[in-house]
């Protein structure tokens, strides 16, 4: 089956939600990937929409870059609403 392409599968579980990665399938082309994904990941009404993407086309961040990429956000507490203390009289804001 290695002659077939590996596709990553994303399922939208219901209208209004985003597609979420669920796993992968092998297929000869993208139409077959959709059919295989339907059989494999939505046998019990788990979804209303499917995306398939050839795995080779996905660019992922590397675990080594975790700190340079994500650590700078950690000390920027002023980006969160809860950082700002307001008097009670203001009410809900």
């Amino acid at each position: 089956m290695s002659v077939w392409t590996l596709y990553e599968v994303f399922v939208r579980s219901k209208h209004g939600l985003n597609h979420k990665h669920v796993g992968s399938v092998h297929a000869a082309d993208s139409a077959m990937a959709i059919e295989n994904a339907r059989e494999l990941y939505t046998r019990r009404s788990e979804g209303v929409s499917l995306w398939v993407v050839p795995s080779a086309l996905i660019t992922a961040s590397s675990p080594d870059e975790k700190d340079p990429l994500f650590a700078p956000a950690d000390d920027k507490v002023y980006r969160h609403a809860s950082f700002y203390e307001l008097p009670e009289e203001v009410g809900h804001m």
């Binding site: 290695s2 077939w4 399938v25 082309d29 494999l40 046998r43």
Partner: protein, 329 residues
């Protein structure tokens, strides 16, 4: 379930002090219950052990379709036939979730399947027993899938992320299998003829011990367990899981009005568990070695399926290329 006797290739577990910085960092993550993901650094032995365990598990799901496939055309009603086909399709799905998880470790699916066909890779010993009557479809669902659930529920917390996520999906579906099996047996025991009731008891008599063997060797004979536990690839010992299975199954057995072929089975008030007799380990190791009643037939059937399907896979690729060229033109 479905992984019995997985080699780790490790003779002795290293202490944190003996580890390299990378190894220590890895082990500390595991100790802190942080999941390991595909792109994270991992010791080669961890990777290889996982590939062996997940492929063995996947092969079990795939070979596990065969004893049930035996009864599809002979199901007693359309309802039972649909249920059985849905269950078999789930087993195929479980195999595929697991092969996908295995591929994230850099293993090649075809190569691992070749190992199954050449007898190098194992699958659960249980599937080397024949399914001789319709009642076996019920007993397999209840006992075999029941034993699988006990094993797989703990594996949901396994340290490798893709394996753990596959287990979560599988557990959700597996409970349908067990319930439909038990309901089938209950229907025969409550509404069936004497011949049907005898068929249920005969099925339990044949499958009880093989079901207990699914948990693998006893703890004294599990040389690989310590490393697998330290890596949290395995989370509870074979004997602990086997005991849990017996404890939860015997009340269900009594409700059916059946017995198991074990004169030593009895409730032990002081332990708060059932005591049970010694498993015939010589039989277990023989089946694992390839000498069970159906080993050769199972592997031959799988090999034939792959070989007979080769032209379909090739045709699909040729068609996809043709479409691609047409779109490019």
């Amino acid at each position: 379930m479905y992984a019995q006797l997985v080699e780790t290739g490790v003779k002795r577990i290293k202490s944190l002090d003996e580890m390299s910085a990378e190894e220590r960092n890895f082990q500390e993550k595991i100790d802190a219950e942080i999941k390991i993901e595909a792109k994270n650094w991992m010791p080669e032995a961890y990777r290889q052990t996982l590939i062996r365990q997940i492929s063995q598990h996947a092969h079990s799901e795939i070979v596990g379709m065969l004893p049930e496939g035996n009864w599809v055309t002979r199901a007693p009603s359309l309802k039972r036939k649909l249920q059985l086909m849905a269950k078999i399709q789930d087993e195929a799905g479980h195999g595929l979730y697991l092969y996908s998880a295995m591929e994230t470790l850099g293993a090649d699916r075809d190569q691992e399947i070749d190992k199954l066909h050449s007898g190098k890779a194992k699958y659960s010993s249980i599937f080397n027993y024949p399914t001789l009557s319709w009642a076996d479809m019920g007993a397999v669902g209840w006992l075999v899938d029941g034993a699988a659930i006990v094993n797989q529920v703990v594996l949901q917390r396994t340290s490798y992320g893709p394996y753990s996520r596959a287990m979560i999906r599988i557990c959700k579906e597996e409970s349908f299998h067990q319930r439909q099996g038990y309901e089938m047996l209950l229907t025969m025991m409550r509404h069936g003829t004497q011949a049907q009731k005898d068929m249920v008891q005969d099925s339990i008599d044949r499958l009880w011990w093989p079901a207990l063997m699914m948990f693998g060797p006893s703890d004294d004979n599990s040389p690989n367990s310590a490393q697998s536990m330290a890596w949290k690839i395995k989370r509870q010992s074979n004997d602990e899981l086997r005991q849990r299975f017996v404890d939860q199954t015997i009340p269900q057995l009594e409700l059916l009005g059946c017995t198991v072929p074990d004169p030593d089975l009895k409730w032990n008030e002081s332990r708060g568990h059932y005591d049970f007799g010694e498993i015939r380990w010589d039989e277990f190791y023989e089946v694992l070695k390839g000498n069970g009643p159906c080993n050769q037939e199972r592997v031959a059937t799988r090999r034939k399926a792959i070989e007979d399907g080769a032209w379909v896979r090739e045709a699909a690729v040729a068609y996809a290329r043709k479409q691609q060229n047409k779109n490019a033109a």
